[in-house]
Symmetry: C3
Subunit: 320 residues, 3 copies
């Protein structure tokens, strides 16, 4: 196996590209660091000077105001200078290549790139290019690439689970929905397995399940009632609009009937099970409003922990 391109020769985090292959110690270190930032966000003055004078570029080749906002807030609370670049609308329209853009921004003394890209592997390509050109001091954070990975979402999900359930090694966790197209699902599965969760389940229709799921160490269910039985954690996935009336699904109504999380279905899980969702929710499609706003939902705490986790990742990468 090749050495993990995310770690330097001392085993320290150099980039955050994917959770796959990250050692448990690295994941735990990020979660522990995030815990210290949860309290920062609660203070009157929500700033620490860890990245003061550092230049963080939000490179969004694919539009996502919500994710970009979380990274922007996290970077500003670390006192970084943040530059938002919506690249779809700019230099690529002048025919400049991805790597020429990176070279240019690096020449402006960028310290960190937060990259969102519709193509799987784009953040890897950038990290490799930085190494090949001797600029390992510039860091890359993957903010979602194609169907591949969304590691900070995975980490904030782990933070949330650890906060409510404490011990990963005793849990049954179910991931429900469009697993096939979900980078969130992929990142969660890798993290859950690495952190020692003994039973990870995925639940969804045949058409939305990936073929390699069992190799990833998960149990597959097409019947949500069976799949939710006795689980401690339910992670709902967002159903992308473009799937709803396509070939893979009959309709949003049908989907809700078969896989929507209702109070009745939630009752099949353990009584203290928590319900998570990466947002934005499609109420009445993958989740009933009674559940989304109910006492077992921890969807808003996920958002709060997401800021802390992103501060932790950026602080670990850029603050040393």
């Amino acid at each position: 196996m090749l050495p993990n391109p995310q770690l330097n020769q001392h085993g320290e985090l150099q980039h955050l590209l994917t959770i796959e292959g990250l050692p448990k110690e690295v994941l735990t270190h990020i979660l522990d660091t995030a815990a210290s930032f949860v309290s920062v966000s609660d203070r009157e003055v929500k700033k620490v000077p860890l990245l003061r004078g550092k230049s963080v570029f939000n490179l969004f080749f694919e539009n996502s105001t919500r994710t970009r906002t979380t990274f922007e807030i996290a970077a500003k609370r670390l006192s970084a200078d943040v530059i938002n670049l919506n690249i779809a609308a700019s230099s690529t329209s002048k025919g400049e290549s991805l790597l020429d853009t990176i070279d240019n921004l690096t020449a402006m003394q960028a310290d960190m790139f937060v990259v969102r890209h519709a193509q799987s592997g784009a953040p890897f390509l950038i990290a490799k290019h930085l190494r090949d050109t001797g600029r390992e001091h510039v860091h890359v954070v993957n903010a979602g690439d194609g169907r591949h990975a969304h590691p900070t979402q995975g980490l904030l999900d782990m933070y949330t689970i650890r906060h409510y359930k404490h011990d990963f090694t005793k849990l049954k966790v179910a991931i429900v929905g469009d697993v096939l197209h979900s980078r969130v699902a992929r990142s969660d599965i890798h993290a859950l397995v690495t952190l020692g969760v003994p039973e990870v389940r995925v639940i969804g229709p045949h058409t939305l399940l990936a073929s390699n799921l069992e190799q990833m160490g998960v149990r597959v269910f097409t019947d949500i009632n069976q799949g939710l039985k006795d689980v401690d954690v339910i992670i709902m996935l967002r159903l992308q609009n473009e799937r709803m009336n396509g070939a893979l699904l009959p309709s949003a109504q049908e989907y809700f009937k078969s896989y929507g999380l209702t109070p009745e279905r939630l009752a099949l899980a353990k009584p203290d099970a928590i319900v998570m969702h990466p947002g934005p929710m499609n109420r009445g499609v993958e989740i009933d409003s009674a559940v989304a706003d109910g006492s077992q939902a921890v969807i808003l705490p996920q958002v709060t922990y997401g800021i802390a986790v992103r501060m932790a990742v950026m602080g670990i990468l850029g603050g040393s």
Copy 2:
């Protein structure tokens, strides 16, 4: 009458949603606070640390670069972290509801929302939701909602009038133009009445006057020459482009002929009358350039005081 949702149980400003119903003491406190910030903006270093570490979100569901810029500058001069969200182009396109967006941003530890929305009442809805969910510590500033209110514009107009005329209780003030569609007019009228202006006049064609104006305590004129007679203050309203060739008005040229503020008409007012306009002006439509650039115009000082007033509002809400 219900208690004012903008004030907390100690009568302190909790949100700024509308001028309607705000006690004179609250208005005067904002204007007095703004006076201290006028001098800040004149200093070499135009910053005070009042909102350091606070996160202010500019939520613009309706595009308005000019207004957004004034709030952004005001927040930055208070040392806040400012996040601009052009929501029209973002999460609502993913089908997320207004209140889900608010819940999410609140979970990111937002301290203040500056809200611009095409629908009247949206900022009230947000404030109510924050109270209903126990998050009264998050503040809402209405930056213009539909035809309803634009309270910071009303306050900066009052600041300007007080600066030039000192005593509200001796003034005749005329508001000229499309009163029917104007949130500025509505906010100004409430403020003028509360601050004790004995004679508020509105001037415009029948088709652009609201039916309830006389209940609001104003005198209505359709003849501008009569309406301007002996006034101390003239507040011109912007004629929206979409009205100009519509059913309500024959044409921009006709409008100017009947209601445009020319030097001749201005001469009907008191010799030391001031001319105000919320901007951006349509020169040659509602106002002649000779007046807009003349010695009685205080249109640019309005802009300057607008920054100070917004600093005051945000400082009072978030700085305590």
Copy 3:
């Protein structure tokens, strides 16, 4: 000759509008100041407090993410508050004139405008208006106006040449490409002549050469092989997409065949000649990738020096 509108009565830089007519001492002072900022950008904390509390407005009437980003970074490293305004999409659509926009932003206590505009002369118009209205304390930096000038690009090119070649008075410099439409070429030629370069050459097809080039003190070549002979510095220009299939040029392929910088052509220059390009590059059109990525290219250092030069210009203008 009229006094230079860029200088105040003490001969100090008041605005940066064009390199034409700027004395050698002023150019040299900017380059010397930039040298001190190159080291700032290398430090852990890349900030100096020179513009703390100052409000810098990036007024981009023409979209250019790359140039806007360089000014934004430069201003933030000087600790300024930066407001980005994409004016194409905002108030001009409400029919507000350029000078009304400037008046408004000045009333918000703007300290500096960085202006990009498709029309030649727009920054001059703004500077003149500021002087005519008694607001000389507000500074204007031209970030590219039409075909006229791009002075900070010219300055960063001079910084780069001085860094690698030390003495301007012994150099042969060739500018290659679409000189006719290039504000970069015009700014470079003025700077090179002022700084004492004895031989400035321009190389391009007849259709892309301006008629007044020889009056500007340059030698004109249509044969690139002759033009590159023994030069110390090669400045490649970007071929605008809109020229490529138009009346002025047969095709991008043909252009590359006649004027593309290949390793073979580069070998005609001095062995230690440097290759420059303002970016973004059209690889395979005006420049071969082997040259762009080769050992003689200083294209990325240009970007780095560009930040320092912009910090210098803004620091000199606003920091006094």
